[in-house]
């Protein structure tokens, strides 16, 4: 079958099978390997992407379900060479260690900020509770999201 969707700002169309997961389509067909697989059952959040602005586990979504949707992966969140404010804050806060959870973490946080520009610490923890990180203990990630929210509020 053919699926058409908007991927990181560009309209794409590709043939796929009915049993292919969205994560496999992104990684294998579009070579967007920033989307990571950690558990395959929607527990770890490493494969998080944005689907119509919502953070979803791409291991639990069939490729066909992307039809007509807008998909953003970690490769599409920056504005060309200019990093997304979340990406900059992740760097300056030391919110990255091994980096395997980072793409999913950034995307979950960005979904939060687009829905709730002024999140409390609890809101942030809740938003990333589905993204497991074994390295950082989350503290610097939470700080990065908090600072980004403030930065974006000041801009508006």
């Amino acid at each position: 079958m053919e699926v058409r969707f908007k991927l990181n700002g560009k309209e794409v169309a590709t043939a796929t099978a009915s049993n292919i997961r969205l994560i496999d389509l992104l990684r294998d067909k579009f070579n967007l390997t920033g989307t990571k697989e950690g558990c395959g059952i929607g527990e770890c959040g490493a494969c998080t992407i944005l689907m119509d602005g919502r953070a979803v586990n791409s291991c639990l979504v069939l490729a066909a379900q992307a039809n007509g949707k807008e998909i953003i992966t970690i490769e599409g969140i920056a504005d060309g060479d200019i990093l997304h404010p979340l990406q900059r804050r992740f760097l300056s806060n030391g919110a990255i260690q091994c980096g395997y959870c980072t793409p999913g973490m950034v995307l979950s946080a960005s979904a939060l900020l687009s829905q709730n520009p002024d999140p409390s610490e609890e809101d942030i923890k809740e938003a990333i509770a589905g993204n497991l990180c074994r390295c950082t203990g989350y503290k610097q990630i939470i700080d990065a999201v908090k600072e980004t929210a403030k930065e974006l509020q000041l801009k508006q």
Binding site: R27, G130, R134
Partner: protein, 794 residues
């Protein structure tokens, strides 16, 4: 000299951060090659069985099967190991634990191969299964590896003073038994590796999620019967390891390499989470028997310790893991008479090996629980008993080593932790608070307003601490040396590399900071190269929190070698007096007499025009240590670090839930080089330690693991931990770069023990078995499902 650093100790953005935050960083499974094949593993549903025959007839000619790889295809060593060669690459004779792999199917796609596994006919005879480590050494116990003659992997004795005399002279004796559980590393990236044939003259190249490329190379070369130089191992970005991607990865790399050489095509193996948990090694569960004799004034006179570690089906790192335990089992306390026996044994359980902490979190849980209990019996506070017994300068450890030549900061970290948390006052207050008891009126069954239990009454507050010393680097485990490579280009930009591996901890950033500090160039001028065994000299494994002290020492040495050459050149070129002092800062070179001389770039240009070699291999070798295996006496490690963590918890007495309100982590890692990285180590290590303390556990049923994915194996999420406060006490040290030592493991080893002491402070009852999950806290018992399914039975 902690003053005057320009980069050291500052917050510097990760060297690999930009690639990781944009999704560009390539992890092992992100690599693809033309003609690449995939492999799937053949296992049987047995924990212990003799394999009589394997019949591939039904699938041999299947179009999805490109090749079948088994033990017969191995040109060299069929069994390997980090210490003892007892682990088969393919188990063609016998499986000894459910993760064991009998053979491997190779083809174009995993999906095409998996359905074929059930069509392979395996004839096997089940053998008795040994799961209880306490029964491993029984005379009638089944032998896991009959050729070893016994199920004993290792026995480390330690004898100091006269244990009987010590007990005889003690005022009181306390005996307790503790247990700790099997846990999983739970790196978020599952294992992946690709072997690429390089032609007859070049051997094979391995790219993978490999913690220790040099150990991996040694094993792959032995299996292929190739010289080391013909096996080139390149590390991909590594999605977490924590000690876990060592033996398993070497074996996976060897399997892929055998298949690659047989098929002549690149072969990738990648594991699902279930396979990862099933086959990879884990943290040793321990049974810890402690008997302490002490005086009424708090002084510990004698301690007898017996530790039993379940090594599971293979030796792996058990001998070294348990060696660290024997050195550190008394904790950081000076005790005259010590009698310790640490044993690791084989069982049919999942095998156990290296994991962050490496044989220290288990005895720390026991010894710190014991110290608190003695304090309670003597009417002392936990910090008082530790001040009496804790190491000071000149103290003699259980192994007979005198602590000197560095800041023995044990009492300093303890005091800092107590002052920052108002420890003693809170600890006493919590003890005073009585539990809520319901007193019903005789006249009326109706509760009055003040008799209702408010939700808050269910919550009890507790505070507890744990204290440790930890030997830095490998100690008497083995040769301890590391290399670094530096090459300065004629425009002043710099290549840097080291034989130790970036496992996510930020080692490349730390090394960049060190080179930046020595050469005075900004960190962004330094390009860090990939770790490739074909380029960098062997630096030993990236373990034992030795990255900063050993590799950092090598990087500093390499950078200083080139800087010294440039210093001599500058003096000659600018006709400066021989005793002038040349400094390198702000991308410029300065002299004390003349001020700024030239830019670093211009100096490099002059050097290059004169044909000067601006590259160097730096080397750092640890001083010799020694060890007597019969008595457990010797200078075990060349230096130590000290740490104290205070846990503040809320315990729900109705549900048994432990909530961690705050962990204050005070560590002396020597000089802090990479500020953001160091804080990250504390946040991450404490969080892992908390998971170990309150809920993580891999349980098994006849060797079969129940928790094979993150739905049942739960690790801490963003919502599980509150505040973590890192505090660094930077003690003086003569080893390592500017006296920088170790931090990664100390951050983890203390947390569970501190939490347990806090829970005891809250409840007034002591818990002896990790993890402190709901049923342990509420019922003092671990509930287990009857088999590998869900649902509980006692």
């Amino acid at each position: 000299m902690n003053k005057g650093f320009s980069v050291v100790g500052k917050s510097v953005i990760r060297e690999d951060g930009i690639d990781k935050v944009t999704g560009k960083a390539k992890f092992a499974d992100d690599y693809k090659f033309d003609g690449m094949l995939h492999a799937v593993m053949l296992r049987i549903n047995e924990a212990h069985a003799r394999i009589n025959s394997v019949d591939f007839l039904e699938i041999e000619n299947n179009r999805n099967v490109f090749s079948i790889i088994s033990s017969a295809d191995i040109p060299g060593a069929k069994k390997v190991g980090m210490i003892k060669n007892d682990q088969p690459i393919f188990c063609d004779e016998k499986v000894v634990t459910p993760g064991d792999v009998i053979a491997m199917l190779v083809g174009e796609s995993e999906d095409g191969l998996r359905p074929l596994l059930s069509k392979i006919k395996i004839d096997y005879s089940p053998l008795p299964v040994l799961n209880d480590p306490k029964k491993s050494l029984d005379k009638d116990a089944v032998l896991i590896h009959p050729e070893a003659g016994s199920n004993l992997i290792i026995h480390h004795p330690l004898r100091k003073g006269d244990i009987q005399k010590g007990f005889d002279e003690s005022d009181e004796i306390l005996e307790q038994t503790y247990t700790t559980q099997l846990i999983e590393h739970a790196y978020i990236e599952p294992e992946a590796v690709i072997a690429i044939p390089q032609g007859i003259s070049q051997g094979v190249k391995i790219i993978g999620s490999i913690q220790n490329p040099f150990s991996c190379r040694r094993i792959v070369a032995a299996v292929l019967n190739l010289p080391l130089a013909k096996v080139r191992v390149q590390q991909a970005h590594l999605g977490g390891s924590f000690g876990g991607k060592d033996d398993t990865m070497a074996i996976l790399a060897a399997r892929a390499a055998v298949a690659a050489l047989k098929t002549g095509r690149p072969v990738k193996i990648r594991y699902s989470r279930e396979e990862s948990i099933l086959e990879s090694y884990k943290r040793h569960p321990y049974i810890l028997d402690y008997k302490a004799g002490y005086m009424k004034n708090g002084k510990i006179k004698a301690i007898k310790i017996e530790l039993l570690a379940d090594g599971g089906a293979y030796t792996s790192m058990s001998p070294f893991v348990t060696w660290r335990s024997v050195v550190q089992a008394t904790g950081p306390y000076e005790i005259e008479n010590v009698h310790t026996d640490v044993r690791a044994v084989y069982t049919n359980n999942p095998y156990t090996g290296a994991m962050r902490g490496f044989g220290s979190p288990q005895p720390i849980f026991a010894q710190e629980s014991l110290m608190d209990e003695i304090a309670l019996r003597l009417g002392m506070t936990p910090d008082e008993i530790r001040r009496i017994n804790g190491y000071k300068v000149g103290s003699v450890t259980a192994t007979g080593q005198t602590l000197k030549d560095h800041d023995v900061n044990l009492i300093t970290v303890l005091s800092t932790a107590c002052e920052n948390t108002d420890f003693a006052k809170k600890w006493k207050n919590n003890l005073k608070k009585k539990s809520v008891a319901l007193e019903l009126s005789k006249d009326s069954p109706i509760l009055k307003d003040d008799q209702f239990i408010r939700p808050d009454d269910n919550i009890k507050k507790g505070i507890g601490l744990a204290l440790s010393f930890r030997g830095c680097s490998l100690g008497a485990e083995g040769m301890d040396a590391s290399a670094a490579y530096i090459s300065i280009q004629n425009d002043g930009s710099v290549y840097l590399d080291c034989g130790l591996a970036e496992n996510g901890q930020g080692l490349r950033t730390t090394y960049t900071i060190i080179a930046s500090e020595v050469l005075g160039v900004s960190p962004d001028k330094i390009i860090y190269l990939e770790l490739d065994t074909g380029i960098t000299p062997d630096s030993g494994p990236t373990v034992a929190s030795r990255g900063t002290i050993m590799g950092g020492g090598a990087v500093k040495n390499a950078a200083e070698t080139v800087r010294d050459k440039l210093t001599a050149l500058v003096k000659e070129e600018f006709k400066l007096p021989a005793d002038d002092i040349i400094s390198f800062t702000d991308n410029h070179v300065h002299s004390e007499s003349e001020g700024t001389l030239a830019s670093f770039q211009d100096v490099c240009k002059i050097a290059s025009s004169q044909g000067m070699n601006l590259s160097a291999i730096g080397w750092y070798k640890g001083p010799n240590v020694h060890w007597d295996e019969e008595t457990g006496q010797g200078d075990a490690y060349f230096t130590y670090v000290y740490g104290c963590q205070v846990a503040e918890v809320s315990v729900n007495i109705s549900t048994g839930e432990v909530y961690i309100d705050k962990i204050t982590a005070v560590h002396d890692p020597g000089t802090v080089i990479n500020r953001l990285g160091a804080e990250g180590q504390v946040f991450g290590g404490v969080t892992q330690g908390a998971g170990y303390g309150i809920f993580e556990e891999v349980t098994t049923d006849k060797g079969f693991i129940r928790e094979l994915n993150f739905d049942t194996y739960t690790i801490p999420t963003s919502k599980d931990i509150s505040e973590i406060i890192p505090i660094f006490v930077e003690g003086k040290e003569s080893y390592g770069p500017w006296g920088a030592k170790s931090l990664g493991e100390p951050t983890l080893e203390l947390t569970a023990a501190a939490i347990s002491n806090a829970v005891c402070n809250a409840l007034g009852k002591r818990l002896f078995n990790l993890p402190l999950n709901l049923e342990e806290v509420l019922l003092n018992i671990k509930l287990r499902p009857a088999d590998t399914k869900r649902g509980s039975l006692v």
